[in-house]
Each structure stands twice: as structure tokens, then as C-alpha cells.
Amino acid sequence: MTDAAANGIDQDLVVHLGKLARLELTDVEVEHYTLQLEQILGAITSISEVAADDIPPTSHPIPMVNVYREDVAIPGLLQEDFVPGAPSFEDDRFRVPRILGEPT
């Protein structure tokens, strides 16, 4: 459990993440995901042991900047393209379950 402490992953955090993702997790699932997240983050933590202070952290594998698209509008999808993939569609809009909590 020392790795878990180093990663800051514990069961309370997993329960919290479950809430944010609106997932109802059982006790068994919480235990399961805690272990999995510990392992995943443990693997990533080993990278920071190698990376010295002179290696700046990046968020993209390729060191490039300023990739832009010209501001030209082109037609997108037709409803017949995407409606079949939607669980529920009504009055030209996606129908979603009653929203719990407040909008952001």
C-alpha cells in the first residue's frame, strides 16, 4: 500500500470520482478500481523518477506548436447520419434523462 499512498489513490478518492462520473459503484467495484488505478498510476509514477528537472513536462508526444485550421464553414453531418446512433431523439433534439443537480 506504500505505492497507493504515493499516488494518493485510496477508496475514498475512487468513491468521489465515481460520484463525479455519476457512477453507482458497489463496494466490490470500488476495491477493484482502487487497485487498478494504483497500478496504472504506479506505472506513470516510475516515469517521473527518470525525468530529471531539466526535462520539461509535455502534454503532447510531438514537440510542435501553432497548428490551426482556416475559418471556413463546411456542412457537417445530416441527421440521418447520427440519429440511428443516439439512444433517444425527439423533436430534432437528443433526448437525455432528467438532469440531476445544477447545470455548470
Partner: protein
């Protein structure tokens, strides 16, 4: 201003802060090539990127970045040499990806200011509003809550339109604005108005507030002089200039009430009710969302070069405050008159009328007189009235051609305001014709003279001032559709009197 409000100011200092979201007027969305136009049938401007389909990849709109940099420069900000987008994760169906691409700890523009002018009894007063940051993000989709009368509470389900999802937004955040005192609500309103004018002058957005393309979150706190800053509340989605002013005032009064009765202010978001002007409690910050921001891995950093920034700086137009000073000088009007027409929201309408061919004085007269009165009566903004600059130009043309009197012009405005159609349509429908042919006027004059033979004698005896009553009678007989000056000339000719 109410006594109650003045009592609050006597006891507390307000601190305000504003976060303003404005949709950019680009052709396409922030991260995909879907059209960014307003309206359209629901879900017709959508693609795999803005529908959040797996495997789709965002690409940044160059013009949106340029618009943000230009806005930053106009707000006297530093443009950072390198920054990134970030994912703001939350679970809500207004974003199909389950996150919004925004900027978090690396905004594109930082540390600027905007000077705003507020009219006071002692003349115009300038406040410097410091800008914390300007950053880019994408707008969200529009939700319709079904059942429960359009509100979340009691709704059985929601319907989502993603046309708006992905439209480029810029967010402008002020630093806390101190020292506004009694003027806090006016400063807040003037700041948002100035921001709107700046966006329009830059051509980066036409800021149609009635379509929700500018939305404001208003932060307010109170403290007694010498005390630490009070706890602030954030009133969300305040969508008009009038509402910004009202939201600040309402929140000041509400907080003062609580503080005086020894209660504490809860740090929370509040909702503004457009109808009542009240704010109601939303979600408390203590159970605030945990957005788990992290750098967006699907986009590369933005690193504007000095050359690019300087090239964009070269495209900045005359800023609104400088332009206002120039117009005031051109028109030869006082600070007070300028400030009141700006406050009335008449400036752009007057300029547009002048551009359409109206004399400056006439343009000012209609917009700040008759039309401002109607806007106040109807509790709306001038630009919401169904009268355009071109209508004024058309009416003024008819007046100077002698085909319409001022009085008849008022009747045309009435027709325009009631949606009766175009100027020419209203003129003919309402039978607004200046009686101008000499024969009919002379006939009417002779009738009036016959009714008052003593007056004719007086005039012929040198009492020209007596002509007024005959002119009045003719105007009455022609139902105000004659040109009074012309009637007077004809009358004197008829009696053989010269002035």
C-alpha cells in the same frame, strides 16, 4: 436611488468582479468546421467533433485565436508567448464529450485594463477596471427541460441541441474592482457596455445580447471599512446591461441585510431572475464541482510570435473611448449630453443614422427624445425597438422635402413601433400628406378669414402677430397636415401685408 441603498453604502464598501463570456463572430466553430451561425434548425450544424464522437480530433480555428489576441491587445493585456488548452471535466449533457475544452492556468492574455466612464452629478468619472485574464473556450449546447415548465426541478427529461456546442467563446475576467462605492452597479454596467463596444469596434463579435451571445457572471461582496474583504457570491448568467446593474444592486442589498442581522454570507453561485430582479441560491461552493482540469492532449500549444502579435496590433481600430471623444467634438455637444446618449444606448444608432444620411442634430433629436421615451416606457433597450437608422433617414428626407411635418413624423414613428410596415407604407396608410398645393391652402385661409373678419383687420392694421390664430385655424382645418410657415406666408400675401 433609494434611501435603503444609500444606507448600505454608508455602512459597507462593495467589491465587485465580472466574468464575461462572449461568442466570437467566426464563420466556423472553435475546434471544427461546422457553421457557427446563430439559430438554424436544431442539430443541423454538427459533426463528429462537436458531437463528441470517439476518435474525432479538434483543430483550432486560426481566426478565433487572432480575435482573442486582438481583444487582449485592445484591453492592454500581455499576450503570453506560450499557452495551452485544458480539459474541464464535468458530467452534464450540454457537452457530449463530458468535458469542455477551455484554458485553465495558462490563459492567452493576462494583466490588462479597461477604463470606463460613469456619469455622476459632478460630471463624468473614469474608473480603471483591471483585467486578470482573457482566455478561449467553446460554448456548450442548449438544453430544453421537458415537463416541469422548462425548469430543471420537476423535469422528466431534457432535450439537447448541439448547434451552439463548440462556438468560440472568449472569457474576460476582471480583478476585484475596489473603490466604486455608491457607483458599483453603474461601474459594472458601464464596464460590460464598454467591453461590448470594444468587441464590436474590433469586429470580433457583433454581440447580440438578446440572442445570449454575451453572458456575465457577477461577483459581489461587502465589507465594513477597515475590515477584511467579505465573502463573495457569484450571480450566474446575467444577460443584459440592465440586468448587470440590477444584479449588483440586489446582491448588495441582500448581503447587507444578512450581515446586519449577524448572519454570514455563504460563498455560493446564485441565479438571477430577469423578471423580479432577485437572486436565488444555486449550488454552494462548498460542494463545488471538481473539474479535474488537465492539459488537452489532442491539441498542441499556442505560441504566438512577436511578429504575429505586432501584425495583429496593426489591425486594431480606434478604441471606443477615443472615438466617442472625437464624435463629441464633431457634434459640438457637452460631456453631459454625450454621456446621456451613451447611457441611453443611442450612440451607435445615431452614428448609423448619420451614415444613412441624417443630419447629426436630427439623428440625436429622434433617438434621445421620442425613441428613448418609448424605450423607457416599454422597459427595453433602444436597439430592440422596431425603428432602424434607415427609417430615420427616410423620414428626415420626407421632412426636408416638405412632404412630412414633425408632427406627422411622430405618427410615422408610432406606426413603425407598432409594426405597421415600412415608412412609405405607413405614410400612405395613415394618409400623411402635407397639404402643399397653394389652391387648397388659400381656400382654407379664406374660410378661416371669413370666420374671423376682425383678425384680418388687425393684421392689415399692422398687428402681424395676430396671424397666428388664422394659421392655427388652417392647421386645424387641414388636420395638421399643412406646413405652418407656408400657410403664414400665403396668408400675408393674401392680405397684401409684408413683414
Amino acid at each position: 436611488m433609494t434611501t435603503e441603498y444609500n444606507a448600505v453604502i454608508a455602512e459597507f464598501d462593495p467589491i465587485i468582479g465580472l466574468e464575461t463570456h462572449i461568442e466570437l463572430g467566426t464563420n466556423s466553430k472553435m475546434f471544427c468546421s461546422c457553421s457557427a451561425q446563430f439559430g438554424g434548425e436544431p442539430n443541423t450544424f454538427v459533426c463528429p467533433v462537436c458531437l463528441g464522437m470517439p476518435g474525432s480530433m479538434p483543430v483550432v480555428n486560426r481566426v478565433a485565436v487572432e480575435s482573442t489576441i486582438r481583444m487582449g491587445l485592445a484591453l492592454n493585456c500581455s499576450i503570453v508567448p506560450w499557452c495551452r488548452f485544458a480539459r474541464k471535466n464535468y458530467f452534464y449533457p450540454d457537452m457530449p464529450k463530458n468535458y469542455q475544452i477551455s484554458q485553465y492556468d495558462e490563459p492567452l492574455c493576462i494583466n490588462g485594463y479597461l477604463d470606463v466612464t460613469v456619469a455622476t452629478e459632478e460630471g463624468p468619472q473614469i474608473f480603471r477596471v483591471e483585467i486578470e485574464r482573457v482566455h478561449m473556450e467553446e460554448d456548450t449546447g442548449k438544453l430544453l427541460h421537458a415537463g416541469g415548465a422548462g425548469r430543471i426541478h420537476g423535469a422528466t427529461h431534457s432535450l439537447v441541441d448541439y448547434n451552439r456546442a463548440g462556438i468560440p467563446l472568449i472569457e474576460v475576467v476582471t480583478k476585484p474592482i475596489l473603490g466604486t462605492g455608491v457607483l458599483a452597479p453603474e461601474v459594472a454596467k458601464a464596464y460590460v457596455a464598454e467591453l461590448r463596444d470594444l468587441m464590436r469596434a474590433l469586429g470580433v463579435s457583433d454581440v447580440r445580447m438578446e440572442e445570449g451571445s454575451l453572458r456575465c457572471d457577477v461577483n459581489v461582496s461587502l465589507s465594513r471599512p477597515g475590515e477584511e474583504w467579505g465573502t463573495r457570491t457569484e450571480t450566474k448568467n446575467v444577460n443584459s446591461l440592465r440586468s448587470v446593474e440590477r444584479a449588483v444592486r440586489t446582491e448588495m442589498l441582500r448581503q447587507a441585510d444578512r450581515l446586519r442581522s449577524g448572519e454570514r454570507i455563504i460563498q455560493e453561485t446564485r441565479h438571477f431572475n430577469e423578471e423580479t430582479g432577485d437572486t436565488t441560491s444555486g449550488r454552494s461552493k462548498e460542494q463545488a464541482e471538481d473539474y479535474r482540469y488537465f492539459p488537452e492532449p489532442d491539441l498542441v500549444p499556442i505560441a504566438p510570435s512577436e511578429a504575429w502579435i505586432e501584425q495583429l496590433r496593426g489591425t486594431l481600430p480606434e478604441i471606443p473611448s477615443v472615438r466617442r471623444a472625437r464624435l463629441q467634438l464633431d457634434w459640438g455637444i457637452t460631456d453631459f449630453d454625450m454621456q446621456s446618449l451613451v447611457n441611453a444606448g443611442a450612440l451607435e444608432l445615431i452614428v448609423a443614422s448619420i451614415d444613412a444620411g441624417v443630419q447629426p442634430a436630427a439623428a440625436r433629436k429622434w433617438w434621445t427624445g421620442e425613441l428613448t421615451r418609448v424605450a423607457n416606457e416599454r422597459n427595453c433597450e433602444l436597439e430592440e425597438l422596431s425603428v432602424t437608422a434607415n427609417d430615420i433617414a427616410e423620414i428626415e428626407k420626407l421632412i426636408s422635402a416638405g412632404e412630412l411635418t414633425d408632427k406627422m413624423a411622430r405618427s410615422v414613428f408610432e406606426g413603425l413601433l407598432d409594426g405597421e410596415g415600412s415608412v412609405s407604407h405607413i405614410v400612405s396608410k395613415r394618409g400623411l400628406v402635407v397639404v402643399n398645393d397653394d389652391a387648397s391652402l388659400i381656400a382654407a385661409i379664406n374660410v378661416a378669414l371669413a370666420d374671423a373678419p376682425d383678425v384680418a383687420e388687425k393684421i392689415q392694421g399692422g398687428k402681424i402677430a395676430a396671424a397666428g390664430s388664422i394659421v392655427g385655424a388652417v392647421m386645424k382645418a387641414t388636420q395638421g397636415q399643412a406646413d405652418a410657415a407656408k400657410v403664414r406666408t400665403l396668408l400675408l400675401e393674401q392680405l397684401g401685408v409684408t413683414e
